[in-house]
Amino acid sequence: MKIRTLKRHFVEAFKSMGRNGWMSFASISAVTVTLLLVSVFLAILLNINFIASQIEDDVQIRAYIERTEKPERYDAYKQELEKLGKVKTVEYQSKEEGLDELIESLGDEGEAFSSLKNENPLRDAFIIYTEKPQDTAAVAKEVEKFKFVNKVEYGQGTVEKLFKVTDVARNVGIVLVLGLVFTAMFLISNTIKLTIVTRRREIEIMKLVGATNGFIRWPFFIEGFALGVAGAILPIVVISVGYQAIFDIVNQKLGTVFIELLPVTPLIPQLALLMILIGGVIGVWGSLTSVRKFLKI
């Protein structure tokens, strides 16, 4: 194709958008509404995922060592634990460190335990992190079998529930987003179809004077892409401003307490790019599938 022809296709595409002003507006609105929903849901989904992994990453297995075991052998035990499948890291924590941690975690009230330092009731322990948090229970079972292990703690019961909740949250989110994307595709292709039906005569005439299908398709391709991308602008603005605001509030008031949101900088540009991509793809897909029907003359 010659550059001149490409230029013509661009001019045609934008002229046609102007001439079919209301239809273009309808298409852009359809894209805007659906992408807005998609972007909001995606932001929520990604954050649920992020928070869930934070919580999951905190899940650890504490294997308390029998008091009768000699500290000289601890290194060998540690190696044995590391050899287990699905284990990421094994850390040793002496009972003194364990007590310090406990006292610290309790804050002011922990001071009461300071007196215990001389007759520490705790045991030395290995802290085990698994490769995947979901493997915790299985690994814990393995660890329990070792003779030097007195007791295993990983928040039995609670951990299983937590994983169930996070899994459900993830799956529901994915289904919602996929459903929305499909709705968007349907809605947009339908709107674009309407604009093309009004131009069916035009296409027929183009074919009769010897225009190739490619030649006819190009302006529609450009137009569909432009409409899709134009529809992505408002959602991107809304999600950028909105997310920044929510992020600030959460960080100031809640952040230090228990949850942390995904940082604005990688998330929003990525979402924006994705929205432009989805908008463009849906627009092109919608207009090309619609124009295809009229090309068979």
């Binding site: 009769l208 010897g210 190739t212």
Partner: protein
């Protein structure tokens, strides 16, 4: 130039529109196609610019067999055939100039050539001074002249017209016929389906009559032959 050998066309709904057509049209000929409505005239014409594909037989135009041509090649074939319709088929949102130029843009002609050729054919159909107007600002005859200009702008060896005067008043129809005569005089083959008895009987040319999907009459200097 145009050669049809044993052409049959049966539509998917069972209508048998053409039942064994054999015809040979020489380069530079002027041919009327006449016959009652529903006799197969339109199908005959449509097969010539490959809007319809024959069920059987071969149609050779400019050395290409339209019955065998691949879907992808159809645009190339159509560029060598000018087509004119009863309802003009102009693009309503383009000006007269743009409508004519469109046929050249499609084949990626250079802007310089486009400008020259468009002005040349607009001069031929006497619409140079209305180049910037839109189709709905023109009379029926003027619109038909635009569509004729569009059909000949890339100098096709064959022009096919399907009832070009069908929507026009008698006086305008004569003007249009003058243009066709001029085009034919320049060496272009013209095939015209028509119901206009007066024109066929006055500007005498070869007449092919189609009835029931067959050629029932083919005369070198024929007349219309129907009473309507």
């Amino acid at each position: 130039m145009i050669e049809m050998v044993d052409v049959w066309k049966t539509y998917p709904n069972g209508v048998m529109a053409l039942n064994g057509i054999d015809v040979y049209i020489e380069k530079g000929e002027f041919v009327y196609v006449v016959g009652p409505s529903g006799a197969g005239k339109s199908t005959f014409i449509k097969c010539m610019y490959r809007e319809e594909k024959p069920t059987q037989g071969s149609i050779i135009i400019n050395g290409t067999n339209l019955a065998k041509v691949k879907e992808r090649q159809i645009p190339k074939v159509r560029r060598k055939i000018g087509v004119i319709f009863q309802d003009f088929k102009l693009l309503p949102r383009l000006t007269v100039y743009e409508n004519v130029a469109f046929a050249l843009e499609v084949i990626e002609e250079s802007p310089k050539v486009i400008r020259e050729r468009v002005m040349e054919v607009l001069d031929l159909v006497k619409l140079k001074n209305k180049a910037r107007m839109f189709p709905d600002e023109l009379s029926g005859g003027e619109q038909q002249r635009v569509s004729i200009a569009r059909s000949i702008v890339n100098h096709p060896p064959v022009v096919i017209a399907d009832e070009p005067t069908g929507n026009l008043d008698p006086e305008t129809a004569w003007e249009i016929m003058e243009i066709f005569k001029e085009i034919n005089a320049r060496g272009t083959t013209v095939v015209m389906a028509t119901h206009n008895k007066e024109i066929v009987n006055t500007i005498t040319k070869r007449v092919i009559a189609i009835e029931g999907g067959r050629i029932v009459r083919d005369e070198a200097k024929g007349d219309y032959g129907y009473e309507d």
